[in-house]
Assembly symmetry: C2
Homo-oligomer: 464 residues x 2
């Protein structure tokens, strides 16, 4: 079918002016934050309701047209890229609150709602949606769910998966399922909801989600600690976790701190220079909690695990300390970073990091490495920066070789080659480093069950 024929057919189903074919739309809605692939979709559809989405999926099944569900397109694995003549289903106009219930502390929203809007909505109700990350201002809740987004509060609040009480989806076969309908307890067979979470739109399209909210945290307080080694970072983590509840435990290297303070004209948290820094956050609900935090801090100092530290006295200071960690990604984006999103179990982080570090340094002595990440969850972001003199193509080519070896190390540590960024197109060839051949075969068979014609985001995550 030509783009014009698709436009005509889809608009006959969901109404006029709901399909765009112009170059601007094809360009915008064909790519995500990866910017590796050249966008080349056939047409862009803008549904308003679950029924609209269902009509499009049924039409695509009849015509064997590939579909790409499109949220905020902030993904880093090209899960929402349309580079292969697909029909893109844009969820932007499905962004309403469907229902809120204060007793249940739950809200049902359409999948196209921006993450930050959901956070704000929760706040207006005196509640809290705790999944948070740098792209919250653009990403959509449907995309968060389809990629099981993580972020900076996972140690306390878990992943997006942990906040989904119900999903309305249109399967690849064009059937509407209402999965779990907001229930907290419901042991009636396979929990298909969890299959759609993290499926990256390969089984169907999420059109609505019922999200659990929680009470807002109180008096969030931030500490940044200077730590001599990764092993010590783990001791610090263990000491604090055994004495209090943390809402975040992040780390970054001296290299990262130097860059971020220079680029954003930020103050260092203290003068002492250490190879690593831990940032931790907790609810200082009362003086006792604060006393405990200070005691643990002093124990860590006495044990030599911490060399210096800084603690926020108010919200502004807390925000400033967070900036040291949160601005890293943006800071290094100017140096053409090659990004990896790895995880291992928390206890193996130090040896894993050391092994990767040593490998990259020895094999590619000119490459600069910036480490940061969510250490409380075993999630490390390895960023390799392009040497200024090196050509971009040569750099990425070399990095691809780095990946193979880094992923082999990850496999040896029983880790994940994509902790929170998903698979999409970018990690598809590396999936086998984390999932066994048998697992991948079962995944393909499950895909077949929900999407027998293979129209849902084909080529993403799996090749059939």
């Amino acid at each position: 079918m030509t783009p014009e024929q698709i436009k005509q057919a889809v608009e006959a189903l969901i109404g006029p002016d709901k399909v765009r074919l112009d170059g601007e739309a094809l360009e915008i809605y064909g790519r995500d934050w990866t910017k590796i692939h050249t966008p080349r979709p056939r047409a862009i559809a803008f549904p308003r309701t679950t029924e609209d989405v269902q009509a499009i999926v049924q039409f695509a099944n009849q015509q064997k047209i590939a579909l790409v569900p499109s949220g905020g397109r902030t993904g880093l694995s090209a899960g929402a890229v349309a580079a292969n003549d697909e029909l893109v289903i844009v969820m932007d106009y499905m962004n309403k609150v469907v229902e809120f219930n204060a007793v249940d502390r739950s809200v049902t929203v359409q999948a196209g709602m921006i993450t930050e809007q959901l956070q704000q909505f929760a706040e207006e109700q005196g509640l809290y949606y705790p999944v948070d990350f740098a792209s919250a201002g653009s990403s959509q809740i449907g995309g968060n769910i389809a990629t099981n987004a993580g972020g900076i509060k996972v140690i306390k609040y878990g992943m997006t998966r942990d906040w989904v009480l119900g999903l309305k989806v249109v399967t690849g076969k064009g059937e509407v399922l209402e999965l779990n309908r907001g229930l907290i307890k419901n042991n009636t067979g396979y929990d298909l909801r969890h299959l759609f979470i993290g499926a990256e739109g390969t089984l169907g399209i999420i059109t609505e989600a019922t999200i659990k909210l929680t009470r807002a945290p109180r008096n969030l307080t931030v500490m940044v600690l200077g730590v001599p080694s990764m092993q010590d970072v783990m001791e610090v983590l263990k000491s604090f976790q055994n004495s209090m509840d943390l809402t975040a435990f992040e780390f970054f290297s001296e290299n990262a701190l130097t860059k971020v303070t220079a680029h954003h004209q930020l103050q260092r948290p203290f003068d002492t220079v250490t190879p690593y820094y831990a940032l931790l956050e907790f609810e200082a609900e009362n003086e006792e909690v604060m006393d405990t935090a200070m005691q643990v801090f002093e124990q860590c100092m006495e044990s030599g695990w911490v060399e210096d530290g800084s603690i926020s006295q108010n919200e502004t200071q807390a925000r400033n300390l967070w900036s040291l960690r949160e601005f890293i990604s943006e800071t290094i984006s100017h140096e053409t970073p090659y990004k990896n999103d790895l995880s291992v179990v928390v206890s193996r982080v130090p040896e894993f990091l050391k092994e990767v570090d040593t490998f990259v340094e020895e094999t590619y002595p000119g490459f600069e490495i910036v480490w940061f990440g969510h250490i409380g969850d075993g999630n490390l972001h390895l960023n390799i920066l392009k040497p200024k003199a090196m050509d971009k193509d040569e750099f990425f080519d070399k990095c691809h070789h780095v990946s193979d070896k880094v992923f082999a190390i990850t496999q040896a540590y029983a880790g994940s080659v994509s902790a929170e960024h998903g698979v999409g197109l970018v990690k598809k060839d590396f999936l086998h480093f984390t999932r066994s051949a048998e697992e991948i075969a079962y995944m393909k068979a499950i895909k077949q069950v929900f999407d027998p014609n293979g129209i849902m985001n084909p080529g993403k995550m799996l090749d059939l």
Copy 2:
């Protein structure tokens, strides 16, 4: 194959004296706590390793022999019953700790470990496994996972699902999968772990699990409050939840309290008689928390939502107050109860309870109803007691008619016909009240993917 042939063949695979055919074994391992079906297994196998289990499953595939995975057999939906010539795989001897890691706060155990032993192991490490329920002294962790067990702490700690970091399973095809291997963050395709959780052994057999532990709660304090109506119970819940973190919020009716205090010679929490009672628990970590709790209590009194209350001053008192709730099930077991395990979203509990109550009272005026449950999760246990004069068969026959109508009401409220007890044989015919025809069709197709010969716990949850 005759039982003797099976014994010979399986023992050739996993070693001598690992299969029993005696009447005692067939009787014990053929039934669970439901005691409705007459046990009639063909043979009972006692594997020691995942390899043993795999060998049995591969053998069963070749011979088309039905398998029943068997844990503590404490289920209330006949998910572990073997009444149809099956080979039972008993996990009792696979009960070891495989690995513990203090930094990760995780422990890998074989599936046959008793829940209470896991709780004790955690305690010995200064940690806590929070999933708890009446049968924890007999149930096994593999069975907990296969049925996604809930219990009395779900409001704070969630279901068993929320504590599983990794699973080793043998699929119905006889393949060993290591799912998620203890990682906190791992977004690499469909999370098959969540498919096996709650699958009731119909997709394969869980042989090992990596379980997350957490810090032990501090100074758990219990309040029992006398409440005039279910609507007021919800107001009490909302008031406390908005001000503090609860670890439990249970309820029971005056009828339940009368019975349990009489049967166990327990003291009433206070003299005031109210239609309902709320039991709530929280960590009184410091005086501030206690002050908050007392303030909310007083607000609830002033608003008329609470008429009287009692609070524990020490661990013994806390335990005694818990007894009022926890002994109900055992108390009414002497009166031949017809049990239902229902859930709706929390906010709809009062109208739902009233509608069910009214229906049972009007249609069966002689039946006595005892309500209790986990109100903070929307989970209600409806117990109908046999009138003394009525014959047992007549009673259960009538109750079956009650079920049909109660489940229809549950469906109208978008609730679950099995909140935490699973489906097994007992709820299979009622599955459609909670899951749509499309969902059930997808479930069957998924079963087909993992168990193409239909040997895994056939007839449980689904009929193919």
